[in-house]
Amino acid sequence: MKKIILIFITSLFIGCSPTGVQVTFDDENSNTIREHLQHYVDGDIDSMMSIIADDAEIYINSQESVSASDVRAIHELEHSIFNGISTSWSQEEGGNDIGAWVESTNYPAGPANEPASVTQAWFTWNGTSSSTGDSLSIPVHVVYSWNNENQVQTIYQFFDSINATAVIEASLAATSE
């Protein structure tokens, strides 16, 4: 009897993540971010930004943040320049395109950190300049950190801006001619 109890207690610990970190895919936060990305693709910036706290800090390839209103202006500019904006992600080349890989992670409190709830997205951003015809495909990673009011309080974006900047500048120049 004691052996059985010991075996099951052992299996309890072997079968579980020792770090206490929980990763989920079909949860409320993950699905909210999927909708957020779809709103962006659709050019519905109001709906897209509705989950972002007014005082959110948004880090775009930088350690200095910009505001939610700054980001709104950036996304509106993108939709004024690019047609056919989409996101794409597939497990393997030529595989089923699910738009973006989205997962949420809850990190428990640790010796040096507060508990944290984040949702992460990985995708390729696609768009074609309506004035120059240049097409872009840019791998993007975004981390969304949630506050206690179920709003996004902090965003970290990682992507290479070189090609996007070049196409945007060329597009603006073409439309001003």
Partner: protein, 167 residues
């Protein structure tokens, strides 16, 4: 007795992540990546052929991949362009690395976040670039693809300055 067994079986499932995903930090794979970072900082790439699969696909902010040799050449070029290179967590300490075992077809991925910092040898300008790298492991314990997500614009400025001096 049967009730006891049922209780413990239930406890096993309730106590675990419902998705079966396991995240670790101080594990063998996360530590192998941290060791590779130490090698990179010392401009030593002896780890590459052990850690990387021979047919690795390295995506440097691009859907098109480069191979192992091109990746190592690119990493080494950082040391030609920059001094005092470091990779650190924004709140201090080393790069943050975690490994996620999805326990399904997605496989095992390690993810790293860090601030890459270096001082341009031509311009003297110190740049700090937030970076994320995702690494997928194969069944042989080697990395089979990597994806770097970071802005290359600050590095390009140093490359352009170096080329201008060379011309």
């Amino acid at each position: 007795m049967k009730k006891l067994i049922l209780i413990f079986i239930a406890a096993v499932f309730i106590g675990c992540s419902s998705t079966g995903v396991q995240v670790t930090f101080d594990d063998e794979k996360s530590n192998a990546i941290k060791a590779a970072y130490d090698g990179y900082l010392a401009n030593d790439y002896s780890w590459a052929e052990t850690l990387y699969s021979p047919d690795i696909a390295v995506h440097i902010n691009n859907v098109d991949a480069i191979d192992l040799d091109a990746n190592v050449a690119g990493l080494a070029s950082h040391h030609e362009l920059f001094s005092n290179i470091s990779m650190s967590h924004p709140s201090g300490g080393d790069a943050f690395v975690q490994t996620t075992n999805y326990n399904d077809d997605t496989g095992i991925w390690s993810n790293a976040w860090f601030i890459w910092k270096g001082t341009g040898k031509v311009t003297g300008v110190t740049i700090e670039v937030p970076c994320h790298v995702a690494y997928q492991w194969n069944d042989e314990g080697q990395i089979t693809q990597t994806w770097l997500f970071s802005d290359q614009a600050p590095l390009l400025a140093e490359v352009n300055a170096a080329q201008a001096v060379a011309e």
